[in-house]
């Protein structure tokens, strides 16, 4: 299919469904106005939702939502290494990751080939981030596959993917030294903003994505794509770290609730 034929009008129609008209059309100024009246730390974060066990055949799986961004992660393994050639080190597990976006995940429908540059890069980022927390030495000669699938993209997909992967790995019972969470922050109209959505992200400001080891308080992922004075950067990064901590708190709650539920049903 080629691109749709040029329309006979200037009206380029992107069609939000009635239910979310409000959310998708919200210009960032509105949120900005809301934000400035409230303390940034707690109110910049969009609504979070996590759900464990969404893919029945996987060893571990989870759905994670940050606002309208919605991703699924599935973990297969630890299992025997399939392609011995990929094995780098005999003493630790091989972690693999693949990121893919559904055709319907973005506002304007595009069909992108698998394995384009962007998804290859995000796959790598997620893999490296998760490798930092998985205790790979405990699972020698095995491999762990992490698949993340974006169902809906509205800014902050890589953060949502990392959070979903953390949940899925914990569900699969993969030993980890800490919980890794991620959140992004930006800087618009002289105000640091937490957890940017697509509209805010494309407004031109910087987008700082941070991943932290929540308990150890260490940054494992840091990406930024625009220029920013150093002292402002510090504020923005700090805000993102606060965001990560809030996500970590939420993820812990979900995991604990899930653990208690499994244990209570199992009985003694």
């Amino acid at each position: 299919m080629g691109p749709p034929p040029t329309l006979p009008t200037s009206h380029s129609f992107s069609s939000p469904s009635p239910k979310t008209l409000q959310e998708t059309k919200t210009p960032f100024e509105i949120r900005f106005a809301l934000l400035s009246s409230l303390s940034i730390q707690n109110h910049g974060m969009r609504h979070l939702k996590g759900e464990i066990g969404v893919v029945s055949k996987a060893d571990g799986s989870a759905l994670f939502e940050m606002g309208n961004t919605r991703v699924i992660a599935a973990v297969y393994g630890p299992k025997e290494i399939q392609n011995k050639g990929q094995q780098m080190n005999n003493n630790e597990a091989l972690v693999r990751c693949e990121y893919s976006m559904a055709n319907f995940s973005t506002g304007d429908r595009t069909r992108r080939p698998k394995g384009d540059r962007r998804s290859t890069e995000i796959s790598l980022v997620i893999r490296q981030t998760m490798e930092a927390c998985i205790l790979t030495k405990l699972m020698p000669r095995s491999q762990i596959d992490i698949f993340v699938q974006v169902l809906q993209a509205d800014g902050g997909t890589r953060s949502a993917c990392i959070n979903a992967a953390t949940l899925a790995l914990a569900d699969a019972g993969v030993p980890m030294r800490d919980i890794i969470t991620s959140c992004s922050a930006g800087y618009l109209c002289t105000t640091p903003l937490l957890d940017l959505n697509y509209a805010e992200d494309s407004a031109g400001g910087p987008d700082v994505t941070v991943g932290i080891l929540a308990k150890m308080d260490k940054v494992t992922l840091l990406q930024m794509d625009a220029k920013l004075p150093l002292d402002t950067f510090e504020n923005v990064m700090q805000l993102a770290i606060e965001g990560c901590k809030a996500v970590a708190q939420y993820i812990r709650e979900i995991l604990l609730e899930n653990t208690k539920q499994l244990e209570s049903r199992r009985g003694s």
């Binding site: 630890p78 205790l135 919980i179 995991l255 653990t259 208690k260 499994l262």
Partner: protein
């Protein structure tokens, strides 16, 4: 949290919630509930006790920290986290069910839901003729007549080798190839280690093997002596041709038991031969069709029955 993908009507939803709340309230009164941890939670310990850190724990700045989600268990000085959902963690002597995936020189490799494939050496199993002797080159060539790829077999965990591979053994008539039945997989945490993992359900003429690795075999009952004779005959394929059909009556039982296992595993209830037969009997009592066992009504009933069972257990204790 785990989403239930069944359409429940209003009353069923209320009943299910009530039963689940009941289960939760019983669990809340036990020590296990208080000891639930998630990844990166600190585990309170008294450092003067010289504690030993076991599975699922690590050391962070002098604190004991969980590396898994699960329940903290303390045995004397040992502190460890008992994981819930995860792949199988082998222990020596476990009875497991596995699937052959490769025939290598002098060994079979098996998928057993562990983080790597398990190895069954030709020398670790009884030969078809039952004589104890050195394995010859001829035996090696005949390996395919014993097990081929995809065969489901039952064996015992022998232990880890120096190179870190997991070894199995099958030195008894009760171990070996499983036929005429179906293999189910359940999360291993639902299977408890017990004395018995082979069950011959006499009334149904069915064998139920609950492998510690979460592979569950439900099949037509095979007499151990008969198994011996099939092993003895050099051409097992010839025998299969003659009677490969399972009688309908037995098949009904197999499917019913299999669905009971599926249901218990979906709900997340412990799988024992008692819980399986109890579920089967309950389905027969209330005239539930075999495939209806996976439907919403029986799901709710099963959770309610479990809640009642635990209630009566609590009453007995007090």
């Amino acid at each position: 949290m785990r989403d239930l993908h069944l359409s429940l009507n209003q009353t069923q939803r209320v009943r299910l919630q009530a039963a689940l709340d009941q289960l939760e309230s019983y669990a809340a009164s036990t020590a296990a509930a208080a000891a639930s941890v998630t990844v990166a939670d600190s585990i309170p310990v008294n450092h003067e006790d010289n504690i030993l850190k076991g599975h699922g724990t690590s050391d962070l700045d002098g604190q004991v920290v969980a590396t898994l989600c699960g329940v903290v268990e303390r045995v004397n000085k040992l502190v460890y986290v008992r994981a819930l959902r995860s792949r199988y963690k082998p222990e020596v002597g476990d009875i497991i069910v596995g699937r052959v995936i490769e025939i290598a020189p002098k060994r079979w490799r098996l998928e057993i839901n562990f983080s790597q494939d398990a190895v069954l050496m030709l020398s670790s199993m009884n030969l078809p003729d039952g004589i104890q002797r050195r394995r010859t080159a001829v035996d090696e060539l005949n390996m395919r007549s014993i097990f081929v790829e995809n065969d489901v077999i039952c064996a015992e965990v022998r232990g880890f080798q120096h190179d870190g591979s997991l070894q199995l053994q099958a030195r008894s008539q009760k171990y070996g190839k499983l036929e005429k039945g179906q293999l189910l997989t359940v999360p291993p945490y639902l299977v408890k280690r017990r004395k018995q993992h082979f069950h011959h359900l006499d009334q149904y003429n069915v064998d139920l093997i609950v492998g510690c690795n979460g592979f569950v075999w439900v099949g037509e009952h095979v007499e151990t002596s008969e198994k011996e004779s099939t092993l003895l005959s050099d051409k097992p394929s010839g025998k299969q041709e003659t009677d490969n059909s399972v009688p309908l009556e037995t098949r009904r039982h197999i499917c019913r038991i299999a669905n009971a296992v599926r249901l218990l595993s979906v709900i997340g209830l412990t799988l024992t031969v008692e819980s399986v037969t109890e579920t089967v009997e309950a389905s027969l009592r209330s005239n539930i069709e075999i495939n209806e066992m996976l439907g919403s009504e029986f799901y709710v009933q099963t959770v309610e029955r479990e809640a009642q069972r635990r209630a009566s257990m609590v009453r007995k204790r007090s």
